[in-house]
Symmetry: C2
Subunit: 204 residues, 2 copies
DNA sequence: ACCTGAACACCGTTCAAGT
DNA sequence: ACCTGAACACCGTTCAAGT
C-alpha cells in the first residue's frame, strides 16, 4: 500500500505505544512501513510534523457526552474521566504531548469547549470564564500527567510524617487520588461560586 | 580551571537558560568549558547524568520559610509562591524537569516535606496525608508547568463562549490565574476538612 | 588520575538523480 | 508525482593511547 500522511501517523503511534516518543526515529518509522527513510518526506514535512500529526490524530478521538441535564459537578467529573481514559489509551504519547506540545489542547477543542460550557452552566460569570476554564484545564491535565509519569503514585506512597511507626501506608491507587483531586477542586469551585453554586441550569 | 562535576552542571545550566534543554549537547557543553568533549566523561557518567545533576543543583536551592504560626492557608500560599519563584528563575530547565524527570521532586525534598507539614497542621487525618500531599503537589506543579509552557496563558485568553460580542477579553495575567487556582484549591481543602478547617495549630 | 584522537553507530534532512 | 541513493552536518559514547 502506498504511503500516506495518516498511514505514517498510525505507524508512528504503534511505535510510540511500544517504545515511547524518545525512541521514535524517522529511519525506524520508515522500516516499519517498509519504505525508504527519504520517502516519508514526500508526505510529512519533518519529524516534528509527524509528532504533531500523531497527537492531533489521537486528540481528535476525544469525545464526551453532553449530559446537559446533570448538575455541573457531575458533568465536570465525567469530562475529566473521559479525558483520563483517552490519556490512558496512549500514555506514552499523551505524557509527551501534554508537556512538549503546549498547543496540544487548542481553545476550540471539545475538551475546552465542554469545560467552558459546564462552568458557564455552573454560574461562573462570563467575565471570569476564561480564567476558570484555564484553572480547570490545568488541574485536570496536571493530575493526569502526574499519573502518567508516575509522580502521583510516588507522592501518594509517602509514609505518614515523622510518626515513626511502621511507616507503611496501604497503597492508595492513583484513581483514588485522581478522584480526591477532582472532588476537592469541585468543592473549591462551589465555594468560589457562593450560594448559587448549586445552580443546575434548570430548564435551559 | 580544572573540570569538576559541579562546574559542568553550572555551564550546562547557563546553556540551558539560553537555548533550552533540547539544544544542550555534550559537544557544545565541552566547547563552552574549553574542554575536549571526551574529557567530560571523566566527571559525569553521561548526558542524562548531566541533566539530573543540573536539576538537582537548582532544586536544592529551594527554600521556604517556616512561618509555623500563620494559618495553613497562608502557609500553603507562601509555599506555592516560593516554588513558582524558583521555577521562574530557570524556566527552560524546570519545564523540562517537571515533565521528564518524574523523580525531580523527591519525597524527602523540602517542598513535599513542608507541604505535608502544612496539611498536617491544617487537620488532615494522618491516614489521608499522602493523598492530600499528592493532590497539593499535583495542583501546584501543574499550574506552574502550564504557566511555563504557555498553556495557562493561551487557555485564559479564550473569548467568552458564543456571546458573539467583540470577543476580546482584557488580558488576564498568568499570575492572576495562578492565584485563582491556589484560592480555589484552598477553598476545596477547607470544605474537605469540614468545620475544623480553620484550625490554625494554635500554640504548637 | 586525567585527558584526547579516532572511530562506531547512530541521527534528521537536503538534493540531485532516477521512474 | 513519487521514490531513492549518496551525502552533509551533526549526535552520544567507547576505547585505546597518551601525559
Amino acid at each position: 500500500m502506498p504511503l500516506t500522511a495518516t498511514g505514517i501517523y498510525a505507524a508512528a503511534l504503534r511505535l510510540i505505544d511500544v517504545d515511547g516518543v524518545e525512541a521514535l526515529t524517522m529511519r525506524k518509522l520508515a522500516t516499519a512501513l517498509d519504505a525508504n527513510p527519504m520517502s516519508l518526506y514526500h508526505h510529512v514535512a519533518n519529524k516534528h510534523a509527524v509528532l504533531r500529526g500523531v497527537a492531533r490524530m489521537v486528540g481528535t478521538q476525544f469525545r464526551t457526552v453532553a449530559l446537559e441535564d446533570a448538575p455541573w459537578q457531575e458533568r465536570i467529573r465525567l469530562l475529566a474521566t473521559d479525558f483520563r481514559t483517552l490519556a490512558h489509551s496512549h500514555p506514552k504519547l499523551m505524557g509527551y504531548s501534554f508537556s512538549h506540545q503546549a498547543d496540544f489542547i487548542q481553545p476550540e477543542d471539545p475538551f475546552l469547549v465542554a469545560l467552558t460550557a459546564i462552568l458557564d452552566a455552573a454560574g461562573v460569570p462570563h467575565s471570569e470564564l476564561p480564567q476558570f476554564t484555564a484553572l480547570g484545564g490545568v488541574v485536570i491535565t496536571g493530575v493526569v500527567t502526574a499519573e502518567l509519569n508516575g509522580a502521583l503514585h510516588r507522592w501518594s506512597s509517602l509514609k505518614p510524617p515523622t510518626v515513626g511507626e511502621d511507616g507503611l501506608t496501604p497503597p492508595s491507587s492513583d484513581v483514588r487520588v485522581f478522584r480526591l483531586t477532582l472532588d476537592t477542586i469541585i468543592m473549591g469551585l462551589e465555594s468560589q461560586l457562593g450560594a448559587e453554586g448549586d445552580f443546575q441550569g434548570a430548564d435551559h
